[in-house]
Symmetry: C2
Subunit: 571 residues, 2 copies
């Protein structure tokens, strides 16, 4: 919240020297969408004034551009496999100074205590981490999560000062049909702030119903017509460009000076190597400019607009009284931050102090059934037609395929020659140890297994392989390291990326995590995996709210009928 | 605050008939700044959806335009001489469905109880009346007000649900120089919402200091350069076009599609006859369009933009879930509302129920000194040079003139041949009955006096005349009716406009008040007044914070030196 500090006014009016002055820069003005040549005077963590100023420390910018620090309107920090402090290490060099996190993944594993750990880790990070209360934990009754967030839990969260919104209300059918508990969650969110949305392909009257509930944003648009309809209906449009889903190119034609005041950027999910190598919101800004968007407008969408939407008057602009969250860069056509300032301090190369947060209460979250053995992966069955999950390259949606079941000795088995592999999803929260089993086509691996405790949204342990022995070894390997991702071939663990924080994140140095992931992907490729990152589809196969065929710890899920179905289709 | 109502969703998604449907209109979309052909479905007080809908009642629009109801971002409702209910009677036919009132005038007379009376009167009016807590009561220590609002009083007010902002912080020197109490008031406002500004001609470093305090708007710009600098500094620009001050034509060149998202309209002060005959915000919209502004952009500035600034998510747009506050008109080039809808009901011709609010506690606020007589107006003095207040046509600023004092028998007297009249400001709140006396040039009246208990901002009784007898009669006439405005000639009261509510407003029918005011102005004209409305300058002559020479109950005020000065200039 904005303060009123007499010292700030003293410096602003010129009666006292500033602490620091960024001199001679070209300041991006997001209010007027123009560029002003001016100094930026800083006192403490705030901007005192824009104009001509003297300061104890002068930073000559020699005509470089200064923009407000970038804001990610919506992301799951767990997707970076790092907690907020680790994320910040990678994001600060890219000019990100604020983000709105939906801590949805850790909430599914650990509930409110998990969210509080992220809040605690974020507290001393030089990047303003705002949180939204995760609205749909679990995402569906067809999977077993580690925790449940009901209406009262959400109310408790929404009372926290750093929790500024109800996070993406993914249960859009529930909203549209006026489900009582869902509407109570929305009402709780509205009582405290903004309620973010998530309504892929929702259109016409159902979209009107979703907006009528009070939900005010969406980041799931993939087509221009969809985005235009949502904007017109009153939803803020977040254009998503992350690692998993990339919608910028498709949606950019929608943006105009007339409607940009309602448009932000977000990444949703961002993998650590992409974050380091390509960037974060700066990458989206550069790409948008490359695709033809006016650079100043792109920066407005990356700064002021999310600050307006989330009612953050201290953020989003270079203006007196706001936090001195700034990005300095040289080329307006391709803004590559050379300096990032947070609360008046240069933090471009910030490194988190170590040891940092005590994560002990988030460790040991992988509780495999004690009796887990090779037989646990057996699927009994005789010849016939099987339901097979068909991967679709680059999408989370799967196909609901029919294939002749590969059967051996009364068991349905994998058939790598036809790229038919077995998949198991093992409940890992100590809530019964159920195992769902099925067949999947499209991974292309042979002679091994891959496994992951990142398995949206309940984050059970998902393992895919062509033989039960390697699948068991993979699952147990993750049990031993407390979660993560691994590759097993012919009885041997080839690579492990440990993610001991809730089975989702690592407290290793970000560089180390990126290296571990690189080795992991190389090992997966050695099995012949046809995907650059097979853990991406693997981690979304348990998500029982994305069409069409999925598998959870409860079994094979026909998402369209929203029920558990048998492996074999009865004739 | 936005509700979540299952019924609304049922209608929105098409499973239930709407209560009312406005069919076949052209809907102004303020998000995308475009026009969509669609039905607007209403349930209760809300919009259920935009699209194709059926309803129990169908209102065929046959291609008429529908815009969101207009919002006045800043006005003093007392300037209409009517309480909120009376104001609404005149404003609703003009499409106003919400206004942010600064109840500054009644606050100076009656303090918090006065504000509460306005809140009470506004509560059942079919026009959403939001209030801002008046930040500067009194406006200056050089005048005696009826009440004082300190920091604690403002905090109390800001806790009221309908009080959504701290009203215009007029003490901009206090802000810029970091005055402790002033900053405490700003801080109290920021803790609850928006802090509106008022900083005429503030520029450069002092403007940066004003913004640094957290103040986020200004409505005092008169020049394009001034408006551009304030926008760039981060202040929302309210373009004011009222009865007293009219800045639209000067400021319109500033507006562009790039910066309009930060611009609103306001009237500040609006006289009842102007309100009825010319209009309210609709008048500003029409005038802006006539001056070349895009009609849809003009409507955005009259609806969505103030709703965004004041964080009113139920207002400012035709969108599902928001209040059904609508304006229907036929000509986009000249939007003249033919229907106004408030909370789902057509209220174009609404009349306040009578009797309405019980104003008894706001009556009897004119406490003239018991000993008031002709001698009270005497100014002793011998020949010499006198300070004379010089009126400037159409402005609140006055000139600090020097004239040879008209002296008779040891008294400084009026000299109507030189248009030098006497002015007296009589403390009328029962706080001592001080009388300030001076000379004024520019009224042009002869053979009488005019008086008013509307006397910004302390609202003492101001009387101007060429003889003490008529001045006394005028003052006493207002004392008898409990406040108002009157004209006296040669011992006879020619006309009285009674304003018995705090000496500022009338609870008569608006038409009656307009008629009384017409008769009053005709009577003033019969005295030879050279101003169309001499009560306009009269009511601002006591305002000790507007340059250059003024008069309060404390005496003649040299505003530039901010002190009381003598009538006669010592040689």
């Amino acid at each position: 919240m904005r303060r009123t500090d007499p010292l700030l006014m003293e410096v602003a009016r010129g009666d006292r020297e500033a602490d620091k002055v960024l001199r001679g820069g070209r300041v991006i003005n997001v209010f007027t969408r123009s560029i002003d040549e001016a100094d930026v005077a800083i006192v403490g963590d705030r901007i005192a004034g824009i104009g001509r100023y003297d300061g104890a420390e002068i930073f000559e910018l020699d005509g470089a551009f200064i923009a407000p620090g970038f804001i990610d309107a919506h992301m799951h920090v767990e997707s970076t496999m790092l907690p907020p402090s680790g994320f910040a290490e990678l994001a600060l060099p890219h000019g990100t100074t604020a983000a709105i996190f939906d801590p949805h993944e850790i909430a599914n594993v650990l509930g409110i205590p998990g969210i509080r750990l992220l809040l605690q880790d974020a507290a001393d990070v030089p990047l303003d981490c705002f949180f939204a209360a995760s609205s749909c934990v679990p995402a569906s009754p067809l999977e077993t999560s580690g925790a449940v967030l009901g209406v009262e839990a959400l109310k408790e969260l929404l009372n926290e000062p750093d929790i500024i919104a109800l996070a993406e209300m993914m249960n859009y059918p529930g909203v549209v049909h006026g489900d009582g508990e869902v509407l109570q969650k929305v009402a709780a969110g509205l009582a405290h702030g903004v309620v973010d949305g998530h309504c892929p392909e929702l259109t016409g009257a159902p979209l009107q119903a979703y907006v009528a509930a009070g939900i005010s944003s969406d980041h799931e648009s993939t087509r221009p017509e969809e985005a235009m309809e949502k904007l017109a209906a009153g939803l803020w449009l977040y254009i998503r460009e992350g690692s998993a889903a990339r919608n910028l190119e498709a949606l950019l034609p929608v943006v105009s000076p007339e409607n940009a005041h309602r448009i932000c950027f977000c990444t949703d999910d961002r993998h650590p190597a992409d974050l380091r190598d390509q960037g974060h919101i700066d990458h989206v800004v550069r790409k948008a400019i490359g695709l033809g968007l006016d650079p100043v407008l792109a920066i407005c969408m990356a700064s002021l607009h999310p600050a307006v939407h989330f009612r953050l008057p201290d953020h989003g602009a270079i203006a007196a009284g706001r936090f001195a969250n700034l990005v300095v860069f040289d080329d307006l056509k391709e803004p590559s931050p050379r300096e990032t300032w947070h609360h008046g301090t240069r933090v471009t190369d910030w490194a988190a102090p170590r040891p940092g947060t005590d994560w002990s209460s988030a460790r040991g979250t992988v509780h495999l059934p004690p009796e887990l053995n090779e037989r646990s992966f057996r699927m009994e069955g005789h010849s016939g037609t099987a339901r097979v999950i068909g991967l679709v390259t680059g999408e989370l949606v799967t196909e609901d395929l029919r294939r002749e079941a590969p059967v051996d000795n009364g068991l349905v088995i994998a058939d790598p020659d036809r790229d038919l592999l077995k998949i198991a999803v093992i409940e890992r929260h100590g809530h019964g140890g159920d195992i769902g089993l099925g067949l999947v086509e499209g991974f292309g691996l042979r002679g091994g297994a891959i496994a992951s405790t990142v398995g949206h949204d309940a984050h059970n342990l998902a393992v895919v392989g062509d033989n039960d022995g390697d699948m068991l070894i993979a699952a147990k390997a993750l049990g031993e390291v407390g979660g993560g991702q691994c590759v097993v071939a012919q009885g041997e663990v080839l690579a492990v990326l440990p993610l001991p924080i809730a089975g989702l994140m690592s407290d290793e140095l970000p560089e180390r995590v990126i290296e571990q992931q690189r080795a992991l992907l190389a090992a997966a490729a050695s099995l012949g995996c046809s995907h650059g990152d097979p853990f991406m589809p693997l981690s979304f196969l348990p998500l029982s709210v994305i069409p069409h065929l999925k598998v959870s710890d409860q079994g094979i899920v026909d998402v369209d009928r929203f029920q558990i179905v048998d492996l074999l289709v009865s004739d």
